[in-house]
Amino acid sequence: MSTPLDDLFVKVRSENRAALIAYIPAGFPTIEGCKKVIQAFVEGGVDAIEIGFPYSDPVMDGPTIQAAADQSLSQGTNAADVFAALKVATDSGVPAVVMTYWNPIEKYGVEKFAQSIAANGGSGVITPDLTIEESTGWKSAVEKNEINPIYVVAPSTSAQRLPQVTSRCGGFVYAASLMGVTGTRAAVSSGAPDLVARIRETTELPVAVGLGVSTREQAKGVAGYADGVIVGSAFIKAMQDAPNEAEGLKSVKELAQQLSLGVREGR
């Protein structure tokens, strides 16, 4: 069985373009405000949405997402809020996944978490700190619930290890474009095309690139060699830098429109 995310990549491949994947943590800027951001994503034309499960110790995230997670957690965001946000996205017809560090999944219950993703129309889960060695229980939970397990690979992932990780992936392979944490950067790492090429030697799965993409030009560049372009911190900054929520939502929608042009210009 294919997930809506699988179907999306079939579609964008037939259109000879990349997919735009937008990230927002549940509960940011507020629990209700997050739902409006999701709406702005949809109106701005994003192809898929990643709902972040905010976590107290986000070691893969830079200052922008850390601040967003803190703001969300200070309002008491919990698993139910994450699934509610996921449902807002999937109800609007856009494929959506959850991105979370491992401990909230383990605390919620591994099997139950996968079930709740599926029950809310979610296509899968991105797990940035779950190594394949620790993923046995998760593997059977995602298979049983027919959702995509999305693992992150890095430029430092060895040739020997790369196929071991990509063979565990479903939906797409998340390629971290550089060695570092999330955040906007002046340029997308020059190592990214190399990593994508290495991934393609190991799998037929689509490859999406994250870390450091914030502009239409950067999206266009990444779309030249990847199947998906993941943008997170730039949307959060758009909300943080705006004088009020309405202005922030407007900037988010405009940025989504620009990036969505970018992913169509790469080839």
């Binding site: 976590y55 110790d57 779950l130 570092g180």
Partner: protein, 397 residues
């Protein structure tokens, strides 16, 4: 000697690796380097020579007779890690890791620190071996431990105050991990306790197990017997695992870890992870964690910055579950009572961390009486805590 289930870096269900994929290569490189070093006569000789001529090993055993009068008359033996260079057990680990850093061809080390003891030790090892050193320290802790911040700077390290999260040790570890993900090619993360992803819990233990090896011989030489119980304070748990490890295969010896109960475990303001936490994943390993129902880490509280951590080494979690070691919680007030008592009865100012183990000795001694022999890891000296203690006891500064 591996007496525990350590397959693939696990201790039962605990330990393992929960880290970004970007770090796997470095962890594998480190694991290979430390395994090779363990049987390399050159490495072993180099480290032993450093311990003899720089650390000041073997550290002595001191019998605390006047203190023992308050501990049910039990024989109290203090393993004096406070007399090591830099004033705590932390030097054992950093010298080992600094030698490994050089072998891996890396020129820069990063470290996290809570009380500042591990930061000072790391800065010391870096100075000795000509490595660049950056220490991450919670902003809150830089204020509590200003003296140690100055020491690190004098030793040539850069100290970066961490302003995210609770601004204590756990956030310093987060920030060090972020630095490591970014700079892993040139940088070794000199983790200071027996936590973190594999191989850190095993490697750091192996650098500290000399404490138990020496003291087992010393206790036997002095008393002709093994100790009734071995006691140590537990934050992350490095000094405790160091003194416990050689005794794990002596089933008649009780192993007792003393956690920080802060204001009392029942108040929620504590750092007693095994006593008051639940299994979860934090900082790259599965262990006991102070966490809420959503898996978010709960901030810990303790008068002792070095024990103020919401996780604990995975080997301790395992030793607890299989019943080989016991863990008790000691409040701030109990620890400070024992702190003052050791100062006045023995002329030794202990670290406040260590005072938790001493408070445990008062309890256990009174439970077991005069026939008991208690070996206590005096893990650090209290110079860094004079300010905190003076405030606590109302001594004007």
């Amino acid at each position: 000697m591996t007496t525990l289930d350590e397959i693939a870096g696990h201790f039962g269900q605990y330990g393992g690796r929960f880290v970004p994929e970007a770090l796997i290569g470095a962890l594998e490189e480190l694991d290979a380097a430390r395994i090779k070093a363990q049987t390399d006569p050159t490495f072993i000789a180099e480290l032993a020579e450093l311990h003899r001529t720089y650390t000041g090993r073997p550290s002595i055993l001191t019998e605390a007779k006047r203190f023992a009068e308050h501990a049910g008359g039990a024989q109290i033996l203090l393993k004096r890690e406070d007399l090591n260079h830099t004033g705590s057990h932390k030097i054992n680990n950093v010298l080992g890791q600094a030698l490994l850093t050089k072998r891996m061809g890396k020129k820069r080390i990063i470290a996290e620190t809570g009380a500042g003891q591990h930061g000072v030790a790391s800065a010391t090892a870096a100075a000795l071996m000509g490595l660049e050193c950056v220490v991450y320290m919670g902003e809150e802790d830089t204020k509590r431990q200003a003296l140690n911040v100055a020491r690190m700077k004098l030793l040539g390290a850069e100290v970066i105050p961490v302003t995210s999260g609770s601004r204590t040790l756990k956030d310093a570890i987060n920030e060090a991990m972020r630095d490591w993900v970014t700079n892993v090619e040139t940088t070794h993360y000199m983790l200071g306790t027996v936590a973190g992803p594999h191989p850190f819990p095993s490697m750091v233990r192996d650098f500290h197990k000399i404490i138990g090896e020496e003291s087992r011989e010393q206790v036997l030489a002095l008393t002709g017997k093994l100790p009734t119980a071995v006691l140590a304070c537990v934050g992350g748990g490095s000094n405790a695992i160091g003194i416990f490890h050689r005794f794990i295969s002596d089933p008649e010896v009780r192993l007792i870890g003393l956690e920080a109960a802060g204001d009392g475990v029942e108040t929620g303001r504590h750092a007693a992870t095994i006593t008051g936490g639940t299994p979860g994943v934090l900082h790259g390993n599965r262990t006991y964690v102070l966490q809420d129902e959503n898996g978010q880490t709960i901030e810990s509280h303790s008068i002792s910055a070095g024990l103020d951590y919401p996780g604990v080494g995975p080997e301790h979690a395992y030793l607890h579950d299989i019943g080989r070691a016991e863990y008790r919680a000691i409040t701030d007030a109990q620890a400070m009572h024992a702190f003052a008592l050791l100062c006045k009865t023995e002329g030794i100012i202990p670290a406040i961390e260590t005072a938790h183990a001493l408070a445990g000795a008062l309890q256990i001694g009174n439970e077991l009486g005069p026939d008991a022999i208690l070996l206590i890891n005096l893990s650090g000296r209290g110079d860094k805590d004079v300010h905190t203690a003076a405030q606590y006891f109302g001594i004007p500064l």
